[in-house]
Amino acid sequence: MLEIKKLHKSYPIGKDSLHVLKGIDLSVQAGELVAIMGSSGSGKSTLLNIIGMLDEADEGDYILDDVPIKNLNEKKAALYRNKFLGFIFQSFNLITYKNALENVSLPLYYQGMGRKERQEKAMFHLGKVGLKDWAAHLPNELSGGQKQRVAIARALAAQPKLLLADEPTGALDTTTSYEIMDFIQELNDEGKTILIVTHEEDIANMCKRIVRLKDGVIMEDEFVNQVRASQYV
């Protein structure tokens, strides 16, 4: 599903350059639920950005669903992002002047889907996250948990091969965090491949596999016994 080999990335800082990723090897199979952990500066966000095609590696290979991701121009990157990836952000990143339904249907709009079909699909995914009744509400009328669920619905709408979540519970309280994790686990149960960047142990333990990064290299890569979030909800 996802193959990363000898991935390097550095950022120029003045005359020097900061070597952030120093040869990452990572392989993720379909249906996995992986937590990427590490303290700040460990390179976990950079790794996620590269996987999300928001950034490009200096060296190494990245193959997603048998497609090598290399030398993408903006147009191609946009196409691949739209086709392969769904993003879930810490700060939700909903468009403030669009209501929940419009937010969810946006990736479908960029797929070139017709309006009616788009709205039906968006409504279906909103229903999946339990927010059918909130379709016409603007983001600022929703609670944090609801916003994140709208964001998840949006990420799901394009039916991506891979879901990328960058600290999806970072802005939420514990109870809401567990609700979201419960939902993510359910999605994973249905077969979705999901990558979560987090620095919270309890969130990481709700995944099936934990990859720990430190100073740009993978320190530890282990499969864990998943803690089900549903018991806390």
Partner: protein, 409 residues
């Protein structure tokens, strides 16, 4: 390609961000408002200048005698020059192919009365051609004819205001009017676009005036129009030739500027044409400047808008928006705001011109307006302007890296 969804996106973005759209639109509205007013007023000025010449034929030449100022060929300075019928005949015959219409004039001031109404009027005794030279519009009866001249008929053609003054209870046509004790039959009533003074005149056959008031063949002035096929330079050399020939005829020094005065309207109207051209260019330059200021203004605001929307655009890109779709969106938004706001300014400007137009007459501004071609031109300019104003910010927006945009929290 018409993409309904794209338009929906843009209209949503405009309408959900009213303040932003309003601010960017205001600059353009204001610029176009000024542009319209400027153009309208310039047009008004031009109309006024043109109306000065509407009264008379534009290819007129006026010839008047004066006093000599230089001694010449044994004559002392200060001699009066008097035109006579033979001079009229000379002009008519010797320059026949170059002259379109020609008339002599004799001026008199007489008191006129009909029944109890009485007033004093300027009398012009003329040839029939005078009608075309002065653009006299006879709307009742007829003008002076060649037959009237032969018979020295005691007839007059009176102005609209003369009829209003004297014939308060009846119509003038066919009635007899008393001019200095002699009865004249009114055979025609006329209008003239030259203003009230021109409509307070009385015309009579030149032979009648010469016979009754002096019994001589003196004339005060000769007016003619040159062949309209002549261009400006030909017209000018024609009037110079006339001056030269007449000076020879009256034994006047070629350097004497006062004795025979030939005034060519082509010169005056050319001067005015030049002035209105300069005025037009000036207005165009200022107007374009205003428009450019407006465009720069909206470009500025669009840059700010793109900055403000960095995060939104980043989200869109993360969700799969191509750079092209971002450029199209921003540019179209700019074009729509510019076009709508500009049109509003245009309508506002036209409304103001319509409202205050009449009250500007005393400032030499007549009927200020903007014509359709200008409106079409302005609309096209606006759309182009909007595209230019939107292009730079749109390009900048398309370059936004989603990762940078999304980090911005």
């Amino acid at each position: 390609m018409f993409d309904l969804d794209l338009w929906r996106e843009i209209f949503q973005s405009i309408s959900k961000n009213k303040l932003r759209s309003l601010l960017s639109g205001f600059t353009v509205s204001f610029a176009i408002l000024l542009f319209t007013l400027l153009f309208g007023i310039a047009n008004g000025l031009e109309n006024t200048f043109n109306s000065f010449f509407k009264d008379d034929a534009q290819n007129s030449i006026f010839i008047r005698p004066g006093k000599t100022t230089k001694p010449y060929k044994g004559f002392k300075a200060g001699r009066d020059i008097q035109f006579k019928n033979e001079d009229y005949d000379y002009l008519k015959e010797d320059f026949g192919d170059k002259v379109q219409y020609i008339t002599s004039r004799v001026y008199k001031n007489l008191s006129a009365s009909y029944k109890d109404e009485k007033s004093s009027y300027s009398i012009r005794a003329v040839h029939p051609d005078h009608q075309y030279l002065e653009k006299t519009l006879v709307y009742e009866g007829r003008y002076i004819s060649a037959k009237d001249l032969q018979e020295s008929a005691k007839i007059v053609v009176i102005g609209r205001l003369v009829e209003e003054d004297l014939f308060t209870k009846t119509i003038a046509l066919g009635k007899y009017i008393n001019l200095g004790g002699i009865q004249y039959k009114v055979v025609g009533v006329y209008r003239d676009d030259g203003g009230d003074n021109e409509e307070r005149m009385i015309y009579m056959p030149i032979t009648t005036a010469q016979k009754i008031y002096g019994n001589n063949d003196y004339i005060d002035q000769v007016n003619l129009t040159y062949n309209p096929e002549m261009d400006f330079d030909e017209a000018l050399s024609f009037s110079n030739l006339l001056t030269k020939k007449l000076k020879e005829r009256f034994d006047v020094s070629p350097k004497d500027q006062r004795a025979v005065r030939v005034r060519n309207m082509a010169e005056a109207s050319k001067g005015v044409n030049q002035m209105t051209t300069v005025l037009g260019v000036l207005v165009l330059v200022i107007g374009m400047g205003t428009l450019i200021a407006g465009i720069v203004g909206i470009a500025n605001i669009m840059i700010f808008v793109v900055k403000e929307r960095t995060k939104e655009l980043g989200i869109r890109k993360a969700l799969g928006a191509t750079p092209k779709s971002i450029v199209t969106m921003i540019m179209l938004e700019s074009v729509i705001v510019t076009a709508l706001a500009g049109y509003l300014g245009l309508l506002l400007g036209m409304g103001i011109l319509e409202l205050i137009g009449d009250s500007l007459k005393e400032y030499f501004i007549t009927n200020p307006n903007v014509d359709t071609s200008l409106i079409i031109g302005a609309t096209i300019t606006l759309i182009i302007a909007g595209a230019i104003a939107g292009y730079v910010p749109a390009k900048r927006a398309a370059r936004i890296k989603p990762i940078v945009a999304l980090r911005d929290e």
